[in-house]
Amino acid sequence: MNRIINYLVDAIGGVLFYFGQTKLRTALTLMGITVGVSSIIAIMTVLETFEQSTESLVADMKTNIFYITKDNPVQVQFGNDAGWGKRKIPRITWDEYEQLKRNLTLVTNMAATTTEEPSDRTISVGKEELKSRLASFWGSDGDVLSVSKYDILDGRNIQDVDIENASRVAIVGYYIKEQLFPYSNPVGQNIEIDNIPFEIIALTEPKGELLGQNMDSMIGIPISTYLKYYGGKGWRGRPDLQLILEAESMDTLEDATDEAIGVFRAIRKIPPGEPNNFYIATNDQLMDTFGSFTSSIKIFVGLVAGISLIVAGIGIANIMLVSLTERIKEIGIRKALGARRVDIFLQFLIEAILISILGGIVGIILGLSFGNVVATFLEQNPVIPYEWVFYSLQICASMGIIFGLYPAIKASKLNPIDSMRYD
């Protein structure tokens, strides 16, 4: 026991001394571990914050809702889905939406939305133009505000009569007010979208940024208005709609989705046996997709981190071998004074472990800082992925053992006479 404590004290002293002597080399070696560990920790921190916020999102989400879209609603998969391949995927049109609406029996509520993200339309008030690109411009006949969690600061939401009449009314985000109405309340005033005047009926509360998008650079109008003014010629066939459908309850959700698939296939005249040329997804499935997304990110990060850790490990082995040749004389002296093989072996191994754990700790600190900076930036609560901190330390210790093993064995086998003579 005494010996082990002696080794530890000695090793810590040795490592610190060694760092002092070879700052640059050690720093470079540590960098490999630090990069590996910090990337693991940073990504895990960000993912954890996401998981937390999506979990709370799920808690809020209605479970009896499903979507029909052209593109995968969670656009996060790597590569193509099987069978999706090179087939041409038609956009979801207003006609299809109306036909669906007429034919579905198990759906209690339905809404269509079209979104330009970002939008290149010119936004102006009098001669004043919005300088930056509008981040989001949407038209909908549903309650986008509550789905996207915007609160109205002043004014009113889009109402059915607006949709029926294709009224030129608009909801604007807080950024629009800041840029174009810095000194007045925009509600009740006019704004021009591609030179078409709209009356602003609502201003939403500031939301900040999410995933790098300015959530307040937003304008929303009734979908009928959107199609009428921006749908272009033959607009009924052109825009790409995302449909939100609501079943009566969780119990009828499955039947309702089945029905929707059947009806939509009939509308599109897809022969039996052919796959769907649209996406249909429930909130549950979206969550699953998100889950598989995060786990594929985790696998990816694992691979990257794994590779950088292996490189780092080779660095450790190298630094230990360099340290070994620099200290052959020391080893010889220690052996001459009574150090056994195991003493030298442990001295080197403990040193390797300490070096890698030190690199790991630096990596964890960097990773946590970076991950949480990103998390705050994305308006998520800061977290510490304890599990991964623990794994990282474990990985570092094992790396020290694995890559320190060979140098340690080599050191332990040195012969005292020859080593003492070495210079």
């Binding site: 002696n6 004290v9 002296i333 150090a339």
Partner: protein, 229 residues
Amino acid sequence: MAKSKKEIISIQSVSKIYNLGETVVKALDNVSLSIYDNDYISIMGPSGSGKSTLMNIIGCLDVPTKGKYKFKDELISEMDDNQLANIRNEKIGFVFQTFNLLPKLNAMQNVEVPLIYSSLGRKERIERAEEALHIVGLQDRMTHKPNELSGGQRQRVAIARALVNKPSIILADEPTGNLDSKSGNEILKFFAKLHKDGNTIIMVTHEESVAKLSKRRIDIFDGKIARDE
């Protein structure tokens, strides 16, 4: 003369042979030797005659190719690496020509090294290292690193390190070889005192004057003992 004394080392027909492919070097050729308690021996001989080889074998740093080596009642020539390390640690104090201190450790820590390998606790280690440094008169140089000490002081730190585990025998391979004559004489006076205090000392030297200070003199020539008196 010393027949009445207790024998601590017995070397019987020991050879050390280096096989360098074409040539075979007999560094030690059938050497037999007994060393008694409180001996003070100097070993002399031309360069390459095998003095260091003999010292290394006596000091358990090396094993003979042939022959028997008994240290007290233990058969060293049959021991493995770890057993030899333990003997070196507990029974032998080695002083080298080039001091062989660890440059990053201070005097105190250098003296502590053998104690680390005998599993002593920190407190006891410090006590004994202080005591040893006291004996060599370096109590006010304990926190100095080797490069902050003179050659003679370094060698005294090395002697303190050799003494710290209270060895049965002190081996010194040309301990004054790297020192000016003044520092060298101090070291030799020191060995004389250690001998008087009951220690057993074997020393390799090139200088007649140094050899005269010892009580017994062994001359080695071509790996063989040419004179022992």
